[in-house]
Symmetry: C2
Subunit: 343 residues, 2 copies
C-alpha cells in the first residue's frame, strides 16, 4: 500500500513538473486537422450600425473569397507559406483593408507600408518596414526571408531589394484612396483646431486598427504566419508598429502555434505578444485558447492594449480573441467555417 502511494506521488510529481513542451488541451482536438487557415482584416470599434448593408456585403465577400482562396491552396497540397502569402496579397489588393492599396496616410500625406512573414518549420522570417512603392509588401517580406540573410529591411533599401527580386512596384499614388485621405484631413483639421495630437482611433469614421494577417497549417504539419499594414493614419517620424516585428505582430513555430496580431502596435511590441503566445504554450503548458485569452482578454486589456489576434496551434485548433468591439476574421478547416466581424 505504502509503495503504491509513493509510486502515485512520484507519477503526479513527474507529470506536474514536465510543463516544458506539454500542451494541456482545453476543449481543443489533439488530432491534427488535414489543414486549417485563419485570417483577420483588423480589429476595432466599427459598430454594425455604422456600416451600410452594401459595405457589410463587401467585407463579408472579401473575407469569404480570401479564406476560400487559402483553403483551396491547402487542399491542393500547397504549403502553409504559399497559402499565407496569397491570402495576404489578396487582402492587400482590397481597398477596404488598411494594407496594400487600402493603406492609410502618414502625417506627410504618404503611404508607408510594413509586413512580416515567418515559417514555423525553419524558424526563418522576413519583414519590411516603411516601403512606399512595393505593391504587395507581404511578398517583399517573404523574399527577405527566402532570398536574403536578413530578417528586417527598411525604407529605400527594402525597396531596392524588392526591385532586385523582381517584385511588382508601383508609383506611391497607386495607394491613394479618397476615404483614407479624408480621414487624414479630418485629423489634421482637428489637430490644428485643438493644438494637440489625437489618436486616430478616436475619430468616429476611422475606428479600426488596420492590419491584415493570416496563419495556415498545411497537410505536412507546417505552420506559417504573416501580417501586413499601412500603419496608423497620421503616423509621423517613420513610426513602425508591431506588424513588421517578428515576435510582436507575427510568429510561427511548428511545435507551438502560428499567430498574427492586430491592434495598438506599441503595446504588442512592449509585451512581445506574438512570441508570448508561443511561450505561454511551450513553458506554461497552456492550450492555444488559454494562452490567447490570457494575453488578449486579461493582460493587454489591463494595460489598455486594444486589439486582437488570430492563431492556430499545431493541430489546427483556432483562437481569435479580441478586446475591441469587432475583428474582421475568418477560419476554415475541413469540418468548420467561421466568417465574422462582431461577436
Amino acid at each position: 500500500m505504502k509503495n503504491i502511494l509513493i509510486y502515485i506521488m512520484l507519477l503526479m510529481l513527474f507529470n506536474a513538473c514536465s510543463t516544458d513542451e506539454k500542451v494541456v488541451e482545453n476543449n481543443n482536438t489533439m488530432q491534427k486537422k488535414d489543414y486549417a487557415i485563419v485570417l483577420h482584416g483588423g480589429a476595432g470599434y466599427v459598430s454594425a450600425d455604422n456600416l451600410s448593408q452594401e459595405q457589410k456585403d463587401e467585407y463579408f465577400n472579401a473575407l469569404n473569397t480570401a479564406i476560400s482562396l487559402g483553403e483551396n491552396l491547402l487542399k491542393e497540397g500547397k504549403s502553409a507559406g504559399d497559402a499565407v502569402e496569397e491570402v495576404i496579397a489578396y487582402l492587400e489588393n482590397q481597398p477596404m483593408f488598411n494594407a496594400g492599396i487600402g493603406a492609410v496616410f502618414t502625417h506627410d500625406g504618404k503611404n508607408e507600408l510594413d509586413a512580416s512573414f515567418m515559417d514555423g518549420n525553419t524558424m526563418n522570417a522576413g519583414a519590411v518596414g516603411g516601403v512606399t512603392i512595393v505593391k504587395n509588401p507581404i511578398k517583399a517580406a517573404r523574399a527577405v526571408m527566402d532570398k536574403s540573410p536578413h530578417v528586417l529591411l527598411t525604407g529605400k533599401g527594402a525597396e531596392t531589394f524588392s526591385i532586385e527580386q523582381g517584385l511588382d512596384t508601383v508609383n506611391n499614388k497607386y495607394f491613394f484612396n479618397q476615404d483614407r485621405w479624408n480621414s487624414l484631413q479630418r485629423i489634421l483639421d482637428e489637430e490644428a483646431g485643438q493644438g494637440m495630437e489625437l489618436d486616430h482611433t478616436e475619430h468616429p469614421s476611422d475606428k479600426k486598427f488596420g492590419t491584415v494577417g493570416c496563419v495556415a497549417l498545411d497537410k505536412n504539419g507546417n505552420l506559417a504566419a504573416g501580417t501586413s499594414t499601412g500603419g496608423m493614419t497620421n503616423k509621423k517620424w517613420g513610426r513602425i508598429g508591431d506588424s513588421p516585428i517578428i515576435g510582436a505582430g507575427t510568429y510561427a513555430d511548428n511545435t507551438t502555434c502560428g499567430v498574427s496580431c492586430t491592434g495598438h502596435g506599441e503595446y504588442f511590441i512592449r509585451y512581445a505578444v506574438a512570441y508570448d503566445l508561443s511561450a505561454k504554450m511551450k513553458y506554461k503548458g497552456l492550450s492555444l485558447n488559454q494562452a490567447a485569452d490570457e494575453i488578449v482578454m486579461k493582460e493587454l486589456k489591463e494595460v489598455g492594449g486594444a486589439g486582437g489576434l488570430v492563431a492556430l496551434d499545431k493541430y489546427g485548433n483556432v483562437a481569435m480573441p479580441f478586446n475591441t468591439g469587432c475583428m474582421f476574421r475568418a477560419y476554415v478547416c475541413p469540418d468548420e467555417r467561421i466568417v465574422k466581424i462582431w461577436e
Copy 2:
C-alpha cells in the same frame, strides 16, 4: 497515515504546479543588492593574441570607466534608466566600440545606427532604427519612450524627431573611422574577387559583433536596459538587426529581469531572445542564470546563433553568457566587480 500521505501529495502537487511567477534561485542571492549594473561592448572572436597590450589597455580602461560611471550614478540614487543612458552614451563616444562614433560602414559607405531602451517599471520602451546624424542614438531611443506615443521610429523621421527633441546631431562624417572604412573596403574587394557576399564576421580583422548595451538595477528596485549599435559592416538594403527591436535585443521587466543582447542579430529576432529570457523566468520558473544559459549556450548554439547577452534579475544577480570566443563586459554591485573580455 493515509491522510498524511494525501496531504503530502497535495502539497507536492501544488508546489510543482505553481511555476507562474515562481523563481527557483540557483546559486543566486534572493536578497536584493543595493544596486547593480552590467554592460557589454560586443561579443565575437577576437583572440587575446590579436590585440596589442595597448589595445587591451584601451578596452579595459573604457570598460572600467563606463561601469564606474554607472555605479556612481546608482550610488547617488539616480534611476536605473539614467545610469543605462549615461553608460551607453559614454560607450557610443568611444571609437573602439561599434556604436556611435565607432559605428561600422554600410555597403554604401555610410553609417546607420540603431538603439533601443526599455524601462522595467513602466514597461514603456523606445527605439530608433537607421539614424545617420544623431550623435547618441541611445538618447534618441529614450526620447522616443519618454516624449512620443510610439516605440520604434526609423530613418529620416526618427532624425526629425531627434532634432525636435533638441538632441545633439552631427554630420554623418562625424562617424568616419579609418579602421572601419578599411574593413568595409576589404570586404568589398573580397566580394568583387569572389563574386559572392561574405559574412563580415568571417573576416579576421573584424571578428566582433559590434553592439554596446547596459542593464541597471537601482536602489528603488527598478530595472532598465538599453542597446546601441552600428550594425554589421557592409549591411545593405536598410537592414536592421535585433538591437532596436524590443523583445529581441533589449527587454526589461521589474518582475523578472533586464537584458541587452549582442550577436548575429537575425537569430536574436527569430528567437525573440531578450523577451524569451524573461518568459523562461516567469513561466518556467528558471533562475536568471539557468534561463540565460539555456538560451545562449544551448538553444542559440544549436542553431548557429553566435553571440551573448548581459542581464540582471530583480535582486541584482548577473548573467553574462556568450557562445563566442569573447565578450567585452563589466559588472558591478556593492560586493563584486568583474571586468573581462575572455573567459
